[in-house]
């Protein structure tokens, strides 16, 4: 049964991602790339970028949207369910365990020490994802322009991600 092993793989992959993704959805991008483009080769770089865009454009947590989409693409509706359950399971289990120890957990030196190492590492990982994902995409002047314009609009706080993607899709229609 290829499908069953796929479901199992999807669930485990997303569990692993959910377990180490400190910093929310964006922290998952380099992990998903390592898992689904490099290790398992379920997606191409282009497909992955499309999925991130679709996850941003649809309501709900971006991480859940991306997990559901990738799961669906790999193994249909059961795959979507396996991936979504996988990515939320670590959150649910960890929080139910630590919720009782609320104050203790937050002020724990051990937890703070671990997070103080992981947070900056995640930034380095996302930066490397930008370069890896950007290389095959930024192939002409137009693409470079769209990318830079999106970055500048977001960084100056002028426009939120959703309208930026809307603008970019218009530019795609006009320029290509």
């Amino acid at each position: 049964m290829i499908l069953l092993t796929h479901l199992y793989d999807l669930f485990l992959s997303f569990c692993r991602i959910g377990l180490v993704a400190f910093g929310g959805g964006y922290a998952m991008i380099p992990l998903m790339r390592a898992e689904f483009i490099m290790a398992r080769q379920w997606l191409t770089l282009g497909e992955f970028l499309d999925i991130i865009a679709i996850a941003e454009m649809t309501p709900g947590p971006v991480a859940i949207n991306a997990a559901t989409y990738i799961g669906y693409k790999v193994a249909g509706i059961p795959g979507a369910a396996a991936a979504t359950l996988g990515v939320i399971t670590p959150s649910v289990v960890l929080i139910l365990i630590i919720a009782g120890l609320f104050q203790h957990f937050r002020s724990s030196l051990l937890v703070r020490a671990i997070i103080s190492g992981i947070r900056p590492a995640v930034i380095g990982l996302i930066l490397s994802a930008v370069l890896v994902l950007g290389r095959p995409v930024l192939v002409d002047f137009k693409a470079f322009f769209i990318s830079l314009a999106a970055f500048l609009l977001l960084i100056t706080g002028k426009i939120r991600p959703l309208p930026v993607i809307g603008l970019a899709s218009l530019l795609g229609l006009l320029l290509y």
Binding site: V20, A21, F22, G23, G24, G25, Y26, A27, M28, P30, R33, A34, G46, L49, A53, A55, T58, G60, P61, V62, I64, N65, T68, Y72, T84, S91, V92, I95, I98, A99, F102, R106, A113, I114, S116, G117, I118, P120, A121, I123, G124, L125, L127, V132, V137, A143, I146, S147, L148, A149, A150, F151, I155, R160, P161, V164, S169, G172, L173, Y176
Partner: protein, 191 residues
Amino acid sequence: MKRPGPPPGKIFLAFLKIGAFTFGGGYAMLPLIRETVVEREKWVSDEGFLDIISLTQSVPGALAVNTAVFIGRQLAGVPGALAATAGAVLPSFLIILAVAAFFIRFSQHPLIIKVFMGIRPAVVGLIAYAVILLGKKVIRARARGNGFTVAVASGAFTLVYWFGLNPFLVIIAAAGAGLLYSFFSGGGDGQ
């Protein structure tokens, strides 16, 4: 529980609405979660909500889901946590199934290809923006020890980008580096 909380069904519906109507995930969802649980339903106090956010950011995973699990648990125990999580996730799940079925079918249509020729570079810009956003947060959170932050960030980048190391290993190594650094520098994360 100190007082009888709302029934899980009500919690489910509140988070269902949040999941169905907020775009952009995580930080974009927090204001709506706050409006619902603090202002409208008065399930959580203002300070309580800030506490919950700071805790949920210390746990791996999607921020919106973490917040839902925690608030649900506080309101109605494990059933509440499951109800809130299911509510926050279900709209995403159903909407993506519909979108994916459509998109996989039409992804080779010339118009869709054009649209995504424009969207792909914008997504690269969006992820670059996330680097700056998270970078600012981390630098601001540390009164001292920014040297360590920069060293770990550039170390992680180098290992993954130039040496092709697995990001999972890098995160585990970074956790170890954080422990060692705090041990030798005598405490916390510099706050």
